[in-house]
């Protein structure tokens, strides 16, 4: 059976079962995902955005608190953190890819109201977290890994107290819309699990099986549930994640070679590509003008670049805003026949003068 037909069979079997939400498929996917990530707990949710909001709440942060954004984060991440009611506070970046946090700056910003630190793995490249972990431990502050761009990258999601993943359509593992939160501790996991479904003390599946007479509501939660067909699809695709990552790494290596040949600075070193799960291929241009011109050419070639980076409120950032002004990201084709598309993207990026 072809891979897509395996996916179709998994989804259709679930539809035929007649049970469409929060049941055995979701449990099986969560167990498989937790095992893959080496995490004690995995909670399937409706999106990566929801995963980030729930993870921040699961870490115990909320209104009146601050959450440090360490490293290069997407604007979406900052907005999702803000949904928790906590204020997102940006930290300066390391100057080189993968643009992890400037640890000295993070340390300076740790103060009373800081209740969690969120660190991203931008574009799917893993950021080294050993020192940040030590810093968090020294201050007893939970570390949340934003892996919404990095499912499948080496080591990601294994250092933080919580980690967030996206199963959106352009991701390494797509179910349309979906996400996952993994957690090391029982307490944050149970908070995330409760808030995903309106903080109800029992879910429909328990009541269906006669395990619960009625329910109480213990907090103010949400409907951030994944449903059974998407869970079945996610489990089917999780089994092939390594193959997907291998294809994406080949595409990234292809980009790096072609860009080097065209005289363009490709910030990801080979060793980083070998550990990444590339979602997009970042390229650093000389200045904002060069970036704008390149983006125009890419748009015209129907190669839209990925979403904006680090558009943080308050203009707090220096290194991130400088970096974001010069960064474009090229799409990573997710299939084997990507050479032509990579070539076209590079051509559009470089422009007619260099062609």
């Amino acid at each position: 059976m072809s891979t897509i037909e395996q996916d179709v069979a998994a989804v259709l079997d679930t539809l035929r079962s007649g049970w469409l939400t929060m049941g055995p498929q979701t449990q099986a996917f969560e167990a498989a995902f937790a095992e893959r990530l080496g995490a004690p707990h995995a909670v399937a949710v409706s999106s990566g955005t929801a995963a980030l909001q729930l993870a921040v709440l699961g870490a115990g942060a909320g209104p009146g608190d601050e959450v440090l954004i360490a490293g290069l984060a997407a604007a979406d991440t900052v907005a999702a953190v803000g949904r928790s009611g906590a204020a997102a506070v940006a930290c300066e970046l390391e100057p080189d890819a993968p643009w992890g946090p400037d640890l000295a700056d993070v340390a300076r910003r740790i103060s009373g109201p800081v209740r969690a630190i969120v660190v991203a793995h931008p574009y799917g490249a893993p950021v080294a977290l050993g020192e940040l972990r030590s810093l968090c431990d020294a201050h007893a502050i939970p570390l949340i890994e934003d892996c919404t761009e990095a499912l499948g990258a080496e080591g990601v999601g294994r250092t933080g107290d919580l980690a967030c993943f996206s199963l959106a359509d352009d991701r390494q593992l797509s179910v349309g819309e979906g996400g996952v939160v993994t957690a090391r501790g029982e307490q944050p996991a149970s908070t995330v699990r409760a808030l995903r479904s309106h903080a109800m003390t029992s879910v429909t599946w328990d009541r269906h099986r006669g395990h619960a007479e009625s329910y109480d509501v213990l907090g103010i939660g949400f409907n951030f549930r994944l449903d059974e067909p998407r869970a079945a699809l996610a489990r089917s695709r999780l089994a092939r994640l390594d193959d997907v990552v291998a294809v994406r790494r080949r595409a990234a290596r292809d980009y790096a070679e072609r860009l080097r040949a065209a005289g363009v600075l490709a910030p990801w070193p080979q060793a980083l590509i070998d550990r990444a799960s590339p979602l997009a291929f970042p390229v650093l241009l000389a200045d904002a003008g060069a970036r704008a011109a390149a983006e125009t050419r890419l748009e015209a070639a129907a190669r839209p670049t990925t979403r904006p980076r680090a558009a943080l409120a308050g203009g707090q950032l220096t290194s991130a805003s400088e970096l974001a002004a010069r960064l474009v990201s090229l799409p990573i084709p997710a299939d084997e026949e990507s050479a032509e598309r990579i070539g076209a993207a590079v051509e559009a990026l470089v422009g007619p003068s260099a062609a």
């Binding site: 897509i4 996916d7 179709v8 989804v11 259709l12 539809l15 035929r16 079962s17 007649g18 049970w19 469409l20 939400t21 409706s46 999106s47 990566g48 955005t49 929801a50 909001q53 604007a75 979406d76 907005a79 999702a80 953190v81 803000g82 949904r83 959106a168 359509d169 352009d170 797509s174 179910v175 349309g176 819309e177 309106h198 903080a199 109800m200 429909t204 009541r207 269906h208 099986r209 006669g210 007479e213 009625s214 329910y215 109480d216 509501v217 213990l218 907090g219 103010i220 939660g221 949400f222 409907n223 549930r225 994944l226 449903d227 059974e228 067909p229 998407r230 699809l233 979403r307 558009a311």
Partner: protein, 368 residues
């Protein structure tokens, strides 16, 4: 529902059962094989079809009815410090969505055990200078008094939001429920009349409300929300929608049969009237027990005979999270209804034999 928990030897009668057709499965398979699963042509086609059956200008597909309520309140201008008048006899999302906006839910009474809709007189008493919206829930598929509420809200310059989670196609005075206010919030949760798993929709005649909902459902709006549906779910909904009226017609037959057979039964009253069934979407079959204190025992009795039941709804103001935040709320009619209600099995392909078993078990259980 293959995993029913009957302790009898016969297969159980589930509260709800979903049966999809081959064409539904094919529609989903086709959407999966298309590659890109993100909201696209199938979602747009379903939105057009749903708006057409409802007779409204815009339908915006969303991840849940909770999302639809959140966006509807935001569209009504609900923000920190504001109040939203809601019933307590509803799923907790109706009130939670007000909290998402930073607003305070203010609870108003239902009409009574015979009509579980919000009482317009109680709504009027609950209005203050801070009220930005009123939410009416069409419980079980039966219309709340949204004609009266629409007038009241218009007079006071307040938005009416319909929680139409139970009514994908039901009417009041010939007009579809979900089209009386600024916006209607619909649910496609797995046990709903039109179900997909997780899904919802906001319906509105307002171009501005629709534009806001379309923008805010995507994280690109910068609000930290992802309330999008996706193509496989839109494909399933699009495939099922043409059969919606047939499904509801069958639900109405079953409800009328229940009503004929339960009308004279001691210890039970039936909310709503026989003539209301023809315009209801008949989401569930609620009965009200004369002896609420006997409800747990009756449910165990029915469960032992393989009859699955539920309670719609525990009252919101009695939940721990709400008692902590909003202590001292007293709603005697709502509380009485919430203690007396029992939901018995109802689904379109329910057989006469299954219905016989439910009625017989109820008769026996109530006689004890």
């Amino acid at each position: 529902m293959r995993a029913a928990t009957a302790t009898s030897t016969e297969p159980g009668v589930p509260l709800f059962d979903l049966r999809l057709e081959a064409e539904d499965l094919e529609a989903v398979a086709t959407a999966l094989r298309a590659g890109s699963l993100a909201m696209g042509a199938r979602t747009a086609a379903f939105e057009r079809a749903f708006a057409a059956q409802l007779g409204c200008a815009h339908a915006v597909a969303l991840s849940s009815a909770t999302a639809a309520l959140h966006l509807a309140y935001l569209a009504a201008g609900v923000g920190p410090g504001d109040e939203v008048v809601v019933p307590a006899y509803t799923f907790v999302a109706t009130a939670n969505a007000a909290l998402y906006c930073g607003a305070t839910p203010v609870f108003a009474e239902v009409v009574g055990e015979h009509d579980l809709g919000i009482d317009p007189a109680a709504v009027e008493r609950a209005l203050t200078s801070r009220t930005k919206a009123v939410a009416a829930v069409h419980f079980g598929g039966y219309a709340a008094a949204v004609d009266v509420l629409a007038e009241l809200c218009a007079t006071r310059g307040i938005a009416l939001i319909e929680d139409a989670a139970h009514t994908p196609s039901a009417t009041l005075g010939g007009r579809k429920l979900g089209t009386f206010g600024l916006a209607g919030a619909f649910s496609f949760f797995s046990n709903k009349v039109l179900s997909v798993g997780e899904g919802g929709l906001l319906a509105t005649d307002s171009d501005e409300v629709a534009a806001l909902a379309r923008s805010l459902r995507s994280p690109a709006a910068g609000a930290g929300l992802n309330y999008r549906l996706d193509e496989p779910r839109a494909a399933l909904l699009g495939s099922r929608l043409p059969r919606l009226e047939d499904d509801i017609a069958r639900r109405r037959e079953l409800v009328l049969e229940y009503r004929r057979r339960l009308a004279g039964l001691d210890g039970v009253t039936l909310p709503y009237r026989d003539e209301d069934v023809a315009t209801s979407s008949c989401y569930v079959m609620p009965i009200m027990l004369a002896r609420p204190e006997g409800r747990p025992e009756l449910r165990r009795f029915l469960s032992a005979r393989g009859i699955q039941t539920s309670i719609l709804y525990p009252a919101i103001h009695e939940f721990t999270a709400y008692r902590e935040r909003f202590p001292g709320v007293s709603l005697p009619r709502t509380e009485a209804a919430a203690r007396a209600e029992l939901t018995i099995p109802l689904f379109p392909h329910m057989t006469a034999a299954q219905q016989d078993r439910v009625v017989a078990a109820l008769e026996e259980g109530l006689a004890q």
